[in-house]
Assembly symmetry: C2
Homo-oligomer: 237 residues x 2
């Protein structure tokens, strides 16, 4: 067994996590007021500087709404949240998405990556193809190893699909994928576990062929098909 690196969390990170848990578990409800920074300081024995920094971080993540000189209330994070908020929710659930989240994720994937696939299939240079081929080569190298490294393969698949977005010419799509990163990594790990490593790499190659052939609709429908396969596989469990 592997233990891996042990990192000491900072007090601030622990406080952020604690409050996140209280919010997500429902102990703190939307609209509830948090104790004042000075009260939290007394409770937790953490300095006001760090308390303040933690609350600001939670506000950026969309969990809190801080009004100067009024206090902090739990925000409606379903409405005001960002991807950070969602990542935190999934992380707290042990990294597992609910069925609805999984379906939402797949819809978003088709919307974003499907558009990128179409764009790239319609218009691409040899350089674009070489860029993607290089990543596929990395995946092939991983397949041939004696000891499988699912994490490395998932990372490579992530880079490949981000590469499609990157090369589609749209400046927003790759950034959106970065925002999703923890979720997408979890998805690929699961996909590798369910369909096998080779099958996933094979599918990646198929996308490249369709892009090279300029078959925008074919690439799009291939993505739709694989998404549906994954979702139906999820429903069986």
């Amino acid at each position: 067994m592997q233990i891996g690196v042990i990192e000491v969390p900072t007090r601030k990170a622990l406080l952020v996590q604690k409050i996140e848990e209280q919010i997500l578990s429902g102990q703190l409800r939307v609209g509830d007021s948090l104790p004042s920074e000075r009260q939290l300081q007394e409770e937790t024995h953490i300095s006001k500087t760090m308390i303040h920094a933690a609350l600001v971080e939670l506000e950026q993540k969309g969990f809190l709404e801080i009004t100067p000189r009024r206090g902090a209330v739990v925000a409606n994070y379903a409405e005001s949240g960002t991807m950070e908020t969602l990542n935190a929710r999934i992380r707290l659930n042990g990294g597992n998405m609910t069925k609805k989240q999984a379906r939402s994720f797949m819809e978003a994937r088709i919307a974003i990556e499907g558009t990128a696939l179409r764009l790239l299939a319609r218009q691409h240079t040899d350089e674009d193809l070489a860029y993607l081929e290089a990543i596929i080569a990395r995946a092939d190298a991983l397949l041939e190893r004696d000891i499988p490294d699912d994490n490395a393969l998932a990372d490579t698949l992530f880079c490949y699909h981000r590469g499609i977005c990157l090369r589609s010419g749209n400046e927003f799509f790759p950034l959106l994928l970065n925002e999703f990163r923890p979720i997408i990594m979890g998805f690929w790990l699961r996909s590798i576990a369910v369909f096998g490593a080779a099958s996933n790499v094979h599918l990646a190659k198929r996308y490249l062929e369709l892009i090279r052939a300029g078959d925008a609709e074919g690439a799009f429908h291939r993505l739709e098909r694989s998404v549906n396969e994954y979702l139906s596989c999820l429903n069986e469990q």
Copy 2:
């Protein structure tokens, strides 16, 4: 002419902006080390606490990578960046997007909001419609005011379109819109300036009609059309 609120920037914000500029202008390159917090303290005459807070903020934005007791280096923000990074880049450019960014933004809008429109048109409850109608009513109230408040209207339009994503049933879409928020707000302000306040509210009502009628493709194509109108209008300038 309006002068508007004048806000005194904090030292921390100024420092963040300064470092962002240095990174985006290329004076600080990806991989470069930053001076230590103490060195920055001496240079800038700002306390170490604030220096530290500024660096943490830049790390959250994806510009820096901080390792405890080792220092901070400039991160590869083009690859690892998030929407935050993009927001910062646009803000630094005076809030103006490049043509390519504008086109990318519109593509992303069609991909995400277009999908949400389709979903909502196909499947919606009376409650969904009432939710959107309430926001439209807010917009109407703003239109009837003597003194136009473009910012408030842009905010209402943002809430309306986020509402479409929210009610589409997809958990990801509204979060993505929140991520874009500063960019979208800039877009609506410009759209109000170009097409007028009433025209924008009218268009919002049109979407609601199409949703109510269950005309998924009609709603989608209406969005495509308005996007193309905006882009061609941008090209004329």
